[in-house]
Symmetry: C2
Subunit: 218 residues, 2 copies
């Protein structure tokens, strides 16, 4: 055991907990970015924090792909445009109109694009905890994405999760191993504006429900 | 727009960011709990924070089931014991011996047991963002679990995620709607001891890898 691990745990006092709750409140899905590049090393620092997320059997199945090539970015954006048109075609009337007015991705300006995969063939963790719930591998990757998101917001970096994409198409465009499954395609950068309420609430798409609606006892 | 939403965003300063990183570092999967009950209202407060997690299309698909009934708890624990025996039978030699020595659930003592489901039939969010990646619903629930975990740790409450269970069995024991999919079965309570390093690292099951191993550029 190293000295660091033997140290007493930090005191997460009331002031910290209040600010942590503020962080949860102000973490937004950002689609409107400034094009300015992020400071050198910041993404690597944020990914290091993401890798502190819980993972099943300590399998650490997260694989982070920084998408920098202009041509690959263009092909991902083309796939988004096609999938978004298909999605729009599934709505009608007023909801179709609202959908058409939504901005659903920051692929146009975000300086950083990050594809996050789950290595479904990793031997790390030796399968522990995956027998009856194999979905625990991608779930662990989602925990890393959520951790990254919070660390980024605290550092003034906005994150947007683009799921209007065909995962197998993105995997092909990025030429990753066959056993990697796309979990998230993220845009990162300085946000154009800051909001406490979600964009989909402001746009009249979907309100927040009260927490009581989601709790049962058994 | 309410006044709260128009307020300027908080300043997440360097001191807060350092402590947030400490929180990520000290968040552990806890399997050894004190049996003491948690203070009244604390779970509800933590679930309220969990519901601030991102969700696809703001669908809020998380459904939280507090498992309080002794008989239901016994049946969940029986399922864990059976699944854990099956898992042990899949290992051999030294690894089987190590596995047999691991404590993999706090179902014996944790005062709170919480099953977290994804409502696969929710109409909230109107399907936005789910067309090509329907797994975004359970992924949103994982984000809520991760958020809950961090809020809990900051409040001195340990969380352990038990995935050595048959999800359909747990759903039957808890008598939830057919469209709900089990995402996580969690134990919560005061931890018996605090550690900065994961139990699976201390027990020699799986070390942490360096972040550089997980980053690619394309």
């Amino acid at each position: 055991m190293t000295d660091e691990n033997a140290a007493p745990p930090p005191d997460f006092d009331a002031a910290f907990r209040d600010k942590l709750k503020d962080l949860f409140l102000w973490r937004r899905d950002v689609r409107r970015f400034l094009a300015d590049p992020l400071p050198d090393g910041l993404i690597e620092e944020l990914l290091g924090q993401a890798a502190l997320a819980p993972s099943v059997g300590n399998s650490q199945p997260w694989r982070f792909v920084l998408v920098e090539d202009t041509e690959r970015r263009r092909r991902v954006r083309d796939d988004f445009e096609a999938a978004n048109q298909d999605a729009l075609n599934g709505y009608s009337g007023e909801r179709a109109q609202t959908y058409a007015g939504l901005k659903l991705a920051g692929l146009d300006k975000a300086p950083v694009q990050l594809a996050v995969f789950s290595d479904q063939a990793t031997e790390r963790g030796h399968g522990l905890g995956q027998n009856t719930m194999p979905e625990m591998l991608p779930y662990s990757v989602v925990a890393a994405v959520n951790t990254l998101w919070l660390a980024a917001r605290a550092a003034g970096v906005g994150v947007g999760w683009v799921s209007i994409l065909h995962p197998e198409k993105v995997s092909a465009v990025l030429d990753v191993p066959a056993d990697w499954r796309l979990v998230a395609y993220l845009c990162l950068g300085r946000p154009e504006e800051e909001h406490r309420d979600p964009e989909l609430v402001r746009a009249g798409w979907q309100d927040r429900a009260a927490i009581g609606e989601f709790i049962l006892k058994r």
